[in-house]
C-alpha cells in the first residue's frame, strides 16, 4: 500500500491538507513552486486577516511552522511537478528538481493569481504612481504607514474602487471575487487607524460582505470609522492641474456625473485563475471550468474531486475563496486522500 499523498501548493489550502493527512498518520510530499511557504498571504505580505484580525505572518506563519516541523511531511521548495503518470491509488510524479514521488492521491492546492490592474488602463494603474492595489495597501498597513507612493505624503483623501478585475465582461472576468468587499472594508478601517484624518470613500456596485462579515466589516466601517460608501462605477482616473488624481464616474443615486479629487486611488483587485492553470491542466490531466479555474467533478458524493480520479482540488484553485474556507477545503481533501490510500488495500483484502 502506498501511504503518501502528494500536495501541490503550500498556501493555506495545501498547508491545511498536509497537516490533515499527517494527523491521520500518512506521509506527505509537499511541492511549492516558490522558495517560501505560506502562499499569497505570505508572498504578497498581507496585513491583518479577516476575520481573526491576526497578522498574516503570525497566523499563516503558524501553519507553515506546524508543517515544517512535521516529520511525516517532506517539502520541495522552488519545485514543480513536471510529469504525472499512473492512476488513482498509485501515481508517480517527476518533479522539476529531479525527485520522483510515488503517491496514492494528489491534491491540487494551486491557488489563484491577483488580477493585474494594468488590464484596466482607464483606471490609471501603471500611469499614475498614486493609483495602487489592495495588495499594496496591505503592505503599507503591514509596514505601519499609509503614504502616497509619488511623494510619501499622507493622503488627505483615499478612495477604494471595488470590482477591479471582477464582474466585468469587457475583460472576460465574469465572476465575483467574493472577498474584495470585505477586504476593502477591513483595509479602509486600517487606513483610518493609521491615518485618522484621512477620509476614505468606497465606490461600489454592490456590497457583498457575506455572512458574518456584514456587520463586522461593512457596518462597522461605516458606523464607527465613517467610511463613506458611494454607489458609482468609475469611468476613468485622470490627473488634475494641481497634481491630484481625478476620479470620474456617475453617481448612480444622485444621477449626476462626478469628478472628485483624491490623493490615493486603490484598486480592490479580484482573484484570477492561477496563471499556471493551463500548464497544471496539461501536467495533471485535469479539466478547467469556463473561467479558467480548475474544474470539479460531481461534488455531492465525491467532494473536491477534480475531473481525474484520484486528484482533488480545493481552495482558490476552484474559485475565489476566503482563507477560512480554504483551510476547511484542505481538511476535507485530506479526508478524501486518506480514504483513497485505504481503498486499494481494502480492494486487495
Amino acid at each position: 500500500m502506498i501511504d503518501t499523498v502528494l500536495i501541490v501548493g503550500a498556501g493555506p489550502t495545501g498547508l491545511s491538507t498536509a497537516a490533515g493527512v499527517s494527523s491521520a498518520g500518512r506521509k506527505v510530499v509537499l511541492v511549492e513552486k516558490e522558495k517560501v511557504l505560506g502562499g499569497a498571504p505570505i508572498l504578497s505580505r498581507y496585513a491583518k486577516l479577516v476575520p481573526s484580525g491576526e497578522w498574516a505572518k503570525d497566523a499563516i506563519g503558524r501553519m507553515v511552522k506546524r508543517v515544517e516541523s512535521d516529520a511525516r511531511v517532506t517539502i520541495h521548495r522552488g519545485a514543480k511537478v513536471a510529469r504525472l503518470t499512473g492512476d488513482a491509488g498509485d501515481f508517480t510524479a517527476t518533479l522539476s528538481d529531479g525527485a520522483e514521488v510515488r503517491a496514492g492521491a494528489v491534491i491540487l492546492a494551486t491557488g489563484f493569481t491577483h488580477f493585474d490592474s494594468i488590464n484596466k488602463p482607464e483606471w490609471g494603474f501603471g500611469t499614475f504612481e498614486d493609483v495602487v492595489t489592495t495588495t499594496q495597501v496591505e503592505q503599507m498597513v503591514a509596514a505601519g504607514k499609509i503614504a502616497c507612493p509619488s511623494d510619501g505624503r499622507t493622503p488627505a483623501r483615499v478612495c477604494i474602487l471595488l470590482c477591479v478585475g471582477s464582474r466585468d465582461r469587457q475583460i472576460g472576468r465574469e465572476w465575483c471575487s467574493k472577498i474584495c468587499c470585505t477586504v476593502s472594508a477591513n483595509l479602509a478601517m486600517e487606513i483610518k487607524e493609521l491615518a485618522p484624518k484621512t477620509d476614505v470613500y468606497i465606490y461600489y456596485m454592490d456590497i457583498r460582505t457575506f455572512g458574518l462579515y456584514e456587520d463586522k466589516y461593512y457596518w462597522r466601517s461605516q458606523e464607527e470609522f465613517r467610511i463613506k460608501y458611494v454607489k458609482a462605477r468609475i469611468a476613468e482616473v485622470t490627473r488634475g492641474p494641481d497634481g491630484r488624481l481625478l476620479v470620474k464616474g456617475e453617481d448612480t443615486l444622485v444621477k449626476r456625473p462626478i469628478v472628485i479629487p483624491f490623493d490615493l486611488v486603490v484598486h480592490a483587485i479580484g482573484m484570477d485563475p492561477n496563471l499556471d492553470n493551463p500548464e497544471i491542466a496539461k501536467v495533471f490531466g485535469v479539466g478547467l471550468e469556463k473561467h479558467g479555474f480548475i474544474d470539479r467533478a460531481e461534488h455531492y458524493t465525491s467532494s473536491f474531486a477534480s475531473t481525474r480520479r484520484g486528484i482533488y482540488v480545493g481552495g482558490a484553485a476552484l474559485a475565489p475563496e476566503d482563507i477560512d474556507s480554504c483551510i476547511s477545503h484542505g481538511l476535507a481533501m485530506a479526508m478524501r486522500a486518506v480514504g483513497d490510500l485505504h481503498a486499494p488495500a481494502q480492494a486487495a483484502a
Binding site: D199, W219, K231, V254, R256, P257
Partner: protein, 258 residues
C-alpha cells in the same frame, strides 16, 4: 442641439437666449438651449457631523441607501420629489448645494414615522428630516417655520412664568405668523371651529335665542382675565432663569459638537 428631456435638468442649469442669430441663422429661443456643466466636483466631509449634532440626525451615517424610507413614505406617495433616502445620501456625502434645491419641500414631513419603523439600519429618517429643517432655519436657508415660531412662544412663556396661557400662545402665534384673528373668526377656519364646538346653528336658520343660549360665557371671561393678570407659578423667577441658562448652554454644546 436642442435638449428634449428638459424635465430632467434643473431649471437653473438651462441657459437660453431669447434672441440669437448665428451665421445668419435664427436660433432664438429653445433652439439655442445649453446646459451648464453639472457634475459633482467635491464632497464636504464635515456636513454629516453638522446634521448629526441636531436632535434626530444622530444616526444619519448608518444609511446604506436601501430606500425603505422613501418607499414607505406618506409624502413620497403624493410627491415623488419628497425623497428622504436621497437627502440622507446628500447629507452623508456633504452635497449641500444639491440638498438646498429641495429646501422648500423638506419641511413637508408629516412625522408618521413609517420610515422609522421600517429602516433596517435604524437611521430614524423622520428625525433626520427634523434635523435638516432645523439646520436650514438656523443657517437662514429657509424662513423660520410656523412650528418653530409656535415652539418659541410656548417656551418663552414657560421660562417667564412656569406655565402657559393658551390664549396668549395662540394670539402671539397668529401675530408672529401674520394671521389676523378677526379675519379667521369671521371668514376663516377659527370661526367655523368655534361654531361647531358650540353647536351653533347658522344664524339665519334658528332664532337669536338658540344662539345666545349656547354662547359660552365663563370660558371667555376666564381667558380674558388670564390675559390681563398672567398668573405665574410660585417662586418661579429664579427657576425660570436657571432653566433658560441650561437650555442655552445645551444649544451652545450642540454647536460645538458640530
Amino acid at each position: 442641439m436642442p435638449i428634449h428631456e428638459k424635465s430632467l435638468v434643473a431649471a437653473d442649469d438651462l441657459l437660453t437666449h431669447d434672441k440669437l442669430v448665428i451665421d445668419g441663422v435664427d436660433v432664438s429661443g429653445h433652439w439655442n438651449t445649453m446646459m451648464k456643466p453639472r457634475y459633482v466636483s467635491d464632497y464636504d466631509a464635515d456636513f454629516q457631523k453638522t446634521i448629526q449634532a441636531y436632535p434626530g440626525g444622530e444616526n444619519v451615517h448608518r444609511c446604506w441607501q436601501c430606500g425603505s424610507c422613501t418607499n414607505s413614505c406618506t409624502m413620497y406617495a403624493i410627491n415623488t420629489d419628497f425623497n428622504p433616502r436621497y437627502w440622507i445620501y446628500l447629507v452623508n456625502l456633504g452635497l449641500k448645494e444639491e440638498l438646498l434645491k429641495d429646501r422648500d419641500i423638506i419641511w413637508q414631513c408629516v412625522s408618521c414615522n413609517k420610515c422609522t419603523n421600517i429602516c433596517p439600519k435604524d437611521v430614524r429618517p423622520e428625525g433626520v428630516m427634523k434635523a435638516l429643517q432645523h439646520w436650514m432655519e438656523d443657517e437662514g436657508h429657509v424662513a423660520t417655520s410656523p412650528s418653530t415660531l409656535f415652539d418659541e412662544e410656548f417656551t418663552r412663556q414657560c421660562f417667564d412664568r412656569g406655565r402657559i396661557e393658551d390664549t396668549e400662545v395662540i394670539a402671539n402665534f397668529f401675530r408672529r405668523t401674520g394671521q389676523s384673528i378677526v379675519d379667521l373668526l369671521r371668514t376663516g377656519w377659527l370661526g367655523i371651529m368655534i361654531a361647531r364646538m358650540n353647536k351653533w346653528p347658522l344664524l339665519g336658520r334658528a332664532g337669536l335665542g338658540t344662539f345666545l343660549k349656547r354662547m359660552p360665557v365663563t370660558g371667555p371671561l376666564k381667558m380674558g382675565l388670564m390675559m390681563v393678570f398672567k398668573p405665574r407659578t410660585r417662586n418661579w423667577a429664579r427657576t425660570g432663569e436657571v432653566l433658560r441658562q441650561y437650555v442655552e448652554e445645551q444649544k451652545r454644546l450642540l454647536k460645538t459638537k458640530a
